[in-house]
Assembly symmetry: C2
Homo-oligomer: 758 residues x 2
């Protein structure tokens, strides 16, 4: 075993990393200033922006209150649960850093969203006044802020834990990663339900029933729709990418310690610090040029610049810092080569996913064109072609991700899991730029909404904003692909940690670890096949719950807007103002209520499997969830993205343009795709990580109740049954309030929502 | 190790089983006579029936020609591939019984379909003349024939192999099961594409474009639609259930030998023989009574009678035949209890799936009602609610199936896999009745089509046929659920065989088997995670390919029918007859062309994974495919079934009835569901089995190229690359002919199909 505590020189290096993480935050502050200095546009624009700001902030405040309670419960549970190695201070450290991780995740989401709701109006104003360049710059810089905060806080947290806890850092890091992932999952689900309930509801009652265009101020759901862009696509996504970053780092540190001790823990932090530098360069390099064919060109330039800088610096770090021969670990290549090639695999994977996602979701490519053409035979063929496209694209993405894991496995030898984790770090060296391009999406979308609603936009400005919005659609799809790739890499790597925890726990329980584990982990055990089936089932269940939550909440939005049209007849001729706040309120309440069931499922399903069936089936459960989750996440994201762009294609004039039958067919496709791509699909990434971390955290408890003196089958089964009971109760309660989108008779009068303004 | 060859007494028992299997065939012959004796209806009915008969027979003939070539290739490969244990005669036996399995599978499909295309008109005639009772009886008896042939041939084949090959029977049985599964998969896919291309095409151009009702004789696609019911729902399904039966028996025999020798092989045959008796009783007990609430009542009665008879006889067989103490196998219970309880688990699982599927797809239950209500807000909400319902129902089905496997695992102790296989046998003791109720579906559907087209039906007769058709929809959904359950049980059990083959092969290669295998099979190896991801990916890919094949073929049907309306203007006022043969021809050619890609994928993907990544990842691949496949199969089948019945609900008058906006919305849902429930979904069952059997068959070759003296990495990788290359080529070729359903411009003139009559 290599020395597992930090050497003196390594401590100094970690301090340097800590400083670099603060530099990322400083650069974020600089960008904020630049964004806020921009012009805020007309009075009407500011009014609308203010309503969006208030709605979004109110939602987040309420969401944090709800989640705060939940976080405290988990905090207490973490204090109770045993750790495999380490005493009380490790256990307390893990619980406290769980809160820190959750707080950071929330902070990234909150800051990102707060800035986005201020940047949107500035982007709109810039489009009017200055045109493409300043508009693009403001939107992208806003993204840059979120990117820098994401990597800054992630790196800061990881480095701090390492300095404070040294050799017990890995266990404390579990808590940090878990806090980030759990909060992110809830924000993804809650924000995702909010945004799509508002969007789908607004479309159904506005475009379909009342025949008024998107973002029309007469539609009471428009403000909620814009709020949704911020709480879902912006806050939820930012928190999600923060946790992807944090959990990947955590996995690399844990495994680094196992295989290479101090050096193994410091190297991932160095890669991440290099990522900060590369991302700053990338953000600064992203500026549109006159010769660009589309808005994607400067964004790609920024990404590839950042990737190139990373690779050069990582190569230098590998060959200077890492040893040229491995001390005792059976490897195919030297640690230097391992370090560099693993990171290279991650960087290449990010680029490959970017290309693949672009191919399947860009308006100019064959797949989206095929869907567009299928609109000529109506909505059914639009749905079918989108679904088969989504299924197929998921396969290619899964093969790319699987190929990356396998590549890391091949070079890694005995340290294969560490190589997989390093590939994850490689995937995220460009995280700063990736987050920046993602946040670009909702900001542009919102800018267009505000401009449209205010009416204060000239033709040239409108064109600029439409272009930015289309670019945003593609960047959003790309980030989802990369996020799910991080989930697979981190989860695969974390198996190493799961294994190590079990070994320690089994030794504690007086068992000869090796044989028991190998037997328990055999793929061909029938109970493990059952575990894998349940793992895949949870992914399907989670997706189904998220989609039906959106349907239910959208139904309520439809009823409310209809009711407003009925009771305020002046809305249609602009003589009365709709009550926007009422719809925001419905979306807020419903999404917070609806996130409970999928959230509890994610946390409690691994508990039920682990305590109920054992640690072997729990590992199989995770494998099943990873396999099905990867495919499902990409399927949902890409089919949704492709439907959205097929609609845009028809709106741009193809097959009869706006108002044609073909348009109606693609609008239906887009509506089906909404909860696919913005609620269920992206939430699978944090879902997988949450389940992996829950498994890691409960592993010692499962072992102590299963093996040796402390074995207690009754208690073990009782815990499992309690977990199942809570999930079943949550499902039953959510069925009870099942209000299917439909006629007015579908709302039971006693259940009518109050419609006070927020 | 128990004695692995048959004892004298056991040989006599197997001969008795053989005789019972012949009795099943004799009972089938008796039922055929009864069906054929019924009245054939009016001249117009006979004319239509004749066209359907000819189209269906022509399709099957061409399909068998295509598949015959493929079967010969596989036959030759089987002669070349090494077997782990046994000499040349075993290898030749396996290859020959591969052909026998394929032939039996084809025969079951062919005979079932031939009879169904003769029974349909008789059912229609009986509805007119005698009403409900004779109509029901003829339809159900037709199903009974198919059921009896299925179990008769399956049992005959298995018993024959055991008598001829004795202790090497398990390896020969692999061939028998593989032949059945491979043929069934192709027939499921080919028939599934045919039936849904015709159905979707007919609906799009008839109901949607021309505004004429379903089964209207002016629609050139109607005969093809009726042919499709027979080649897909009837021939494909019968072959599929035959292979489910055969593969489950094969798995039980293989494992029986491993754990209990002679007794272990004979006991599953006894269960199956008991199943024959129970099924005959069940079929005879299925007769409508005056007091029945619906057509489901007598069918349920038949099923439960059959299940009760089975259980009583199996209990007797277990306690008389099986030993009361296990000889050397470490078990929780006695072999007697093991035998009976495992079969009981299977029978209960069949009943539970029946109830669950009924809940999610019957018109009178909440889920379908919810979908119906969502039609008030348009097609998008119909699609979304159907998808979330499908996802959810898949989870419950997966939990039931997983629970059954786990239950068998718990009682099985060291012989857990055998217990799982016996549960599979239990699931299929009622196979005769299950097949009967399934075949009931397409026969009733066809009878309604013929009656409608001929115009020779009175109101009372039409009502009878509509009722029968609705019952058929539910029974079809139930069978799909049970079929996928057999896939999981058989596949899980076959892991035991996979394991045993590898052990033998590793010993041959001079390796210390135990350690290598346990290491290779560890769930937490990154390469195994990759294997599981690829396994799930193949399920998604296969589903996507099947769905897009239907879209493409349906597109051609639409163009053809449109063209006929244009060139034969007299069609609309009945002065000209459409060319039905042309559409049948298109469906035939297209479905045979389209089945190649998914078929090659199923056979070659495990080859690529096995040779490319190794036998550990191949096992993980199978686990990934089982987990994702179970969920995907039930999801696709149930959402499709629910959409279909939601449409029926609106057609029966809910939410405005026929012609309303709500109706249009549910028609779109039904169209999306068509390839879900009748092409992609049900084909996943044989897919899983084919992949498992391919893995089993290539295992020794993989080992001999990986380990010991014969190790040859270059050759191994070359084989994998060749497999990948063939699949990629097939995908590329099928993309080339990609004709998306859309405007006329979508058909390249050079690619225009000839439209000669069949």
């Amino acid at each position: 075993m290599p020395e597992s505590s930090l050497s003196g020189g390594d401590t100094a290096l970690v301090v340097v990393v800590l400083v670099i993480s603060l530099a990322a935050l400083a650069f974020a502050a600089y960008l904020v200033k630049a964004v806020m200095a921009a012009d805020q546009g007309t009075v009407r624009m500011r009014e609308i922006a203010l309503a969006v700001q208030e709605g979004a902030a109110a939602f987040l405040r309420r969401q944090f209150r709800t989640l705060g309670f939940f976080a405290v419960v988990v905090f207490l549970l973490l204090l109770v649960l045993p750790v495999a190695d380490g005493g009380w201070e490790t256990r307390i450290g893990r619980a406290i850093f769980f809160l820190v991780g959750a707080l950071f995740s929330a902070a990234v989401g909150f800051i990102g969203m707060t800035l986005a709701t201020r940047a949107n109006v500035r982007v709109a104003a810039a489009a009017n006044a200055g045109g493409y360049l300043p508009s693009f710059r403001t939107a992208y810089r806003t993204g840059g802020v979120v990117g820098m905060i994401t990597i800054g806080l992630g790196l800061f947290g990881a480095a701090l834990v390492l300095l404070l806890f040294d050799e017990t850092a890995p266990i404390v890091l579990e808590g940090f990663g878990f806090g980030g992932a759990l909060l992110a999952m809830f924000m993804r689900v809650g924000g995702g339900i909010f945004t799509k309930a508002a969007d789908v509801g607004a479309d159904l009652v506005g475009k379909v029933e009342a025949g008024i265009p998107e973002d029309d101020p007469r539609n009471a759901a428009t403000i909620a729709d814009n709020v949704g862009d911020n709480v879902g696509d912006c806050a939820g996504m930012a928190a999600d990418l923060f946790e992807s970053y944090a959990v990947t780092l955590v996995a690399a540190l844990i495994l680094g310690q196992v295989f290479f001790g101090s050096v193994g823990m410091v190297f991932p932090l160095m890669i991440a610090a290099i990522g900060v530098i590369a991302s700053i360069v990338g953000v600064l390099a992203t500026r549109p040029a006159k010769t660009d064919a589309s808005g994607m060109a400067p964004i790609n330039r920024g990404f590839f610049t950042s990737a190139a800088v990373s690779l050069v610096l990582v190569a230098a770090a590998s060959f200077i810092y890492l040893p040229s021969i491995s001390g005792g670990v059976d490897m195919e290549v030297s640690p230097q080569v391992l370090g560099f090639v693993a990171v290279l695999i991650g960087v290449v994977l990010a680029a490959a996913i970017q290309q693949l996602t672009g191919y399947f979701t860009e308006t100019s490519r064959k797949p989206v064109k095929d869907i567009g053409r299928s609109s000529l035979t109506g909505p059914a063929t639009v749905i079918l072609s989108g679904i088969s496209l989504g299924l197929e694209s998921a396969v290619y993405a899964a093969l790319l991700i699987g190929g990356a894991v396998y590549g890391a496995f091949l070079i890694g030898g005995a340290a294969a899991l560490y190589a997989v984790a390093l590939a994850g770090c490689g995937l995220l060296t460009t995280a700063g730029v990736i987050v920046a391009m993602d946040t670009f999406g909702p900001v542009s979308d919102n800018a267009q909404g505000i401009a449209e609603m205010s009416g204060d936009i000239d033709e040239e400005g409108a064109r600029v904003l439409t272009d930015l919005d289309a670019v945003g659609n593609t960047t959003k799809a790309i980030t989802k692909g990369i996020a799910i790739a991080t989930a697979v890499l981190a989860a695969t790597a974390l198996f190493g940690s799961y294994n190590a925890q079990l070994e320690l726990a089994l030794e504690d329980a007086g068992d000869t670890a090796g044989a028991t584990l190998q037997e328990a982990f055999s793929l061909v055990n029938p109970n493990n096949v059952v575990g894998a089936i349940i793992g895949a089932a949870v992914v399907f269940f989670f997706s189904g719950l998220a989609i039906s939550a959106v349907s239910r909440a959208a139904g309520r939005v439809v009823f409310e807007v209809r009711e407003q049209f009925r009771t305020k007849p002046g809305i249609m001729d602009y003589s009365e103002k709709p009550d926007y706040g009422a719809v925001v309120d419905i979306c807020t309440k419903d999404s917070l209520r609806e996130l409970a069931t999928p959230g509890l499922l994610a946390v409690l399903a691994p508990v039920a499997v682990g305590f109920g069936l054992g640690f072997g089936p729990l590992a199989a459960y995770l494998v099943g969830a990873i396999a099905a989750g990867t495919l499902m996440a990409v399927f949902l994201s890409n089919s949704g993205g492709a439907w959205d762009n097929a609609k845009k294609m028809v709106e741009d004039g193809a097959y009869g343009g706006k108002g044609s039958e073909a348009h109606a067919a693609t609008v239906i496709g887009d509506t089906v795709g909404d909860p696919f791509k913005d609620t269920a699909g992206p939430a699978i990434n944090p879902l997988i990580k949450v389940m992996n971390l829950v498994a890691l955290i409960i592993a010692p408890a499962v072992v102590s109740l299963s093996v040796g003196e402390g074995a207690n089958t009754t208690l073990r089964v009782l815990v499992a049954l309690a977990a199942v009971a809570v999930v079943v109760a949550a499902v039953v309660v959510s069925k009870r309030r099942s209000v299917v989108v439909g006629g007015a008779d579908a709302v039971p009068t006693g259940d009518r929502l109050t419609t006070s303004a927020p």
